[in-house]
């Protein structure tokens, strides 16, 4: 374990002072340039980031704080952000917050003094953490979600409202009226806006959906599962469902599969966020798509510019467009109301309002659909 060489070693080797070496590294013209380069190469010298940032106050690092890297959307954001820093001289700290304000506070506290800037997807809109960052003077760009002090931060959003609207309008145009939604937490920007988009579009169409048609799913897979179960258990179930995020869509589709409902014959489904798998589902899933990697890349670009430019500049607010990707999970509603198989109804009733702890046992994964006896119901 030979200790790494310092600038002093290089200076000695090259027969100059450390100041000269330092200047050479910075790019200044220096007489001994060649000798210094040789010394650096021979010694395999790398300047110490710690010493450097102690002196300069800059760390050369950027933090990226997201609720969950496992969510393909945030994975894409990470990738997009990373693709920008990769070319420049910044590296990325990554942290998960598990959608918790407290965890987020802890994470931020940790990262605060280690970075020159931060990309943050706040857990909720009431989250006080962005303000904390502002107080500490850390340049910050919010991703996908707005904070409580909206307007004070750079932020990169997508048109959640418009996306939801286009989804619901698509369903309306197919002739659906009994349209339900599985919504995210209203405390988060996407959760709130996608729900508002749904509600407004329904209202515009002159439809006042029953309150049970808005099911909270918490942006989690099992929440989507439960929510869909609730919808299917309704005496008068919807003919179409707009599921407001990718994870919940998986859960909802699992529920649909468990019950044996046919898509799109019995029920039309439209999700939010595309995924490679969406295309190979049967039927291929219609979704609201958005430029995910671009969202991350753009946010990182904005952060870098905010870090280098005048920091007092007005906050920028970018809203990216969504686009409807029509596949085959939506069709006109059937004339007769959908029928839920007998055995399935028992299964539905096993999932009442209260959240269940986790996804079922590992073995449950192989479960085949239940019986197929049909029972009319309205």
């Amino acid at each position: 374990m030979p200790k790494p060489p310092t600038i002093t070693d290089v200076a000695d080797e090259a027969g100059v002072s450390i100041s000269t070496v330092s200047r050479h590294m910075r790019g200044d013209r220096v007489r001994a340039a060649k000798r210094i380069d040789r010394a650096i190469a021979r010694l395999r010298y790398r300047p110490s980031p710690a010493a450097r940032s102690l002196k300069s106050g800059k760390t050369g690092a950027v933090a990226l704080v997201v609720p969950d890297v496992t969510n393909p959307f945030f994975a894409a954001v990470v990738r997009g952000a990373e693709s920008i820093t990769a070319q420049g001289r910044h590296i990325i700290f990554l942290a998960n917050t598990d959608e918790s304000d407290d965890r987020e506070a802890a994470v931020i506290e940790d990262l605060l003094s280690r970075v020159d800037g931060m990309l943050l997807a706040p857990a909720s809109e009431s989250d006080p953490n962005p303000q904390r960052l502002a107080d500490a003077g850390v340049p910050t760009v919010l991703i996908d979600r707005e904070g409580p002090s909206a307007g004070c931060f750079d932020v990169v959003l997508v048109d959640n409202y418009g996306g939801a609207r286009s989804a619901v309008e698509h369903l309306l145009s197919l002739g659906h009226e009994r349209i339900a939604t599985i919504a995210g937490p209203v405390g988060s920007t996407p959760g709130r806006l996608r729900l508002e988009g749904y509600s407004a579009t329904m209202a515009d169409a002159g439809i006042d959906p029953p309150s049970a048609f808005v099911q909270p799913g918490g942006f989690m897979e099992h929440g989507g599962y439960q929510a869909m179960m609730q919808l299917l258990a309704l005496p008068d179930p919807p003919t179409a469902v707009f599921v407001a995020n990718n994870l919940m869509t998986i859960g909802a589709l699992r529920a649909i599969k468990d019950i044996g409902v046919r898509v799109p014959d019995d029920l039309s489904i439209i999700g939010f966020d595309d995924h490679p798998f969406s295309e190979i589902l049967d039927p291929p899933l219609t979704v609201v798509g958005r430029p995910m990697e671009q969202q991350g890349a753009l946010a990182m670009r904005m952060l870098l510019s905010r870090m280098s430019e005048n920091p007092g500049r007005m906050a920028r607010r970018v809203v990216l467009d969504t686009h409807l990707i029509q596949r085959a999970s939506c069709s006109p509603p059937r004339e007769n109301p959908m029928s839920i198989p007998q055995g399935a109804r028992a299964l539905i009733n096993k999932f009442p309002k209260h959240p269940h702890p986790e996804r079922g046992s590992p073995d449950g994964s192989g479960r085949k659909r239940t019986g197929t006896t049909l029972e009319r119901r309205n």
Copy 2:
């Protein structure tokens, strides 16, 4: 932008020397403890990581270098690793290498002096980078892939060979003989071992598959797509395919869907690595599963212990078990050879051996299946 308080400010405020403050922070008994705490709270003092690591030589950070966070497997690994450090006093640098040795070298060079340890999934087995880390004295744990100097590094693998074997044995037990595989790069540990598992199991069964039954897919989605196209174009196509990773499986399924082959009637499919979507595919996908988050968590635990314990300890090599998750994408082979629809054959021929640059145009995602009459429903 009030400059953050330093230890000197705290010392002044508390009326002691900086040494005393420093000792108090470290946990030593100190008379002025209470006053110091008050000063710290009042000033919102946070010690500077830069100064700290300059003196101590420790950074409190750990690097996690993976080929691609967008791959659900690595996303899970990140999450697992993160769940371990979250409790302790380390934070994570994340970097993608895009499966390139060169990019990896650059990334590592950057990270080298900023971390106390590194978790690395090397791009290839001939990758010289782990050795570079060893030379630099950075504690390193390899994830999922072994380096050239196997045995010199701690490493957390899964039983790739056994997993592949169980997949192929499953197909054999169903009566298949014409079993093909879509393999990863043989230069990588999982690619090589999963292929070896396939080959050995076939040999044990007394079967010598034609060489065209081993299609390289490069662990990428479009590679899996092409590979499956190749297999389907064979005059005598396989009755079952073992796809050696998750991304390639998506591509393979897209190809299958595009051509209109029925699973499992025409072709049995088994993938490697489970995914929430696998369960809701039609038919649900049979896969070789493995504990992904645990793999990341375990690797991180090993790294932390290696960093704290005697660094000269023998390298540990952990191999985690895989498990077969039987769903519905495999069945006994049909008696008559599968028939490829006429129109589809033209499509197949559009994808010859040479790799195509990227996944088709963004708009291609909405493509409906080509004109075949094969409609399937159960």
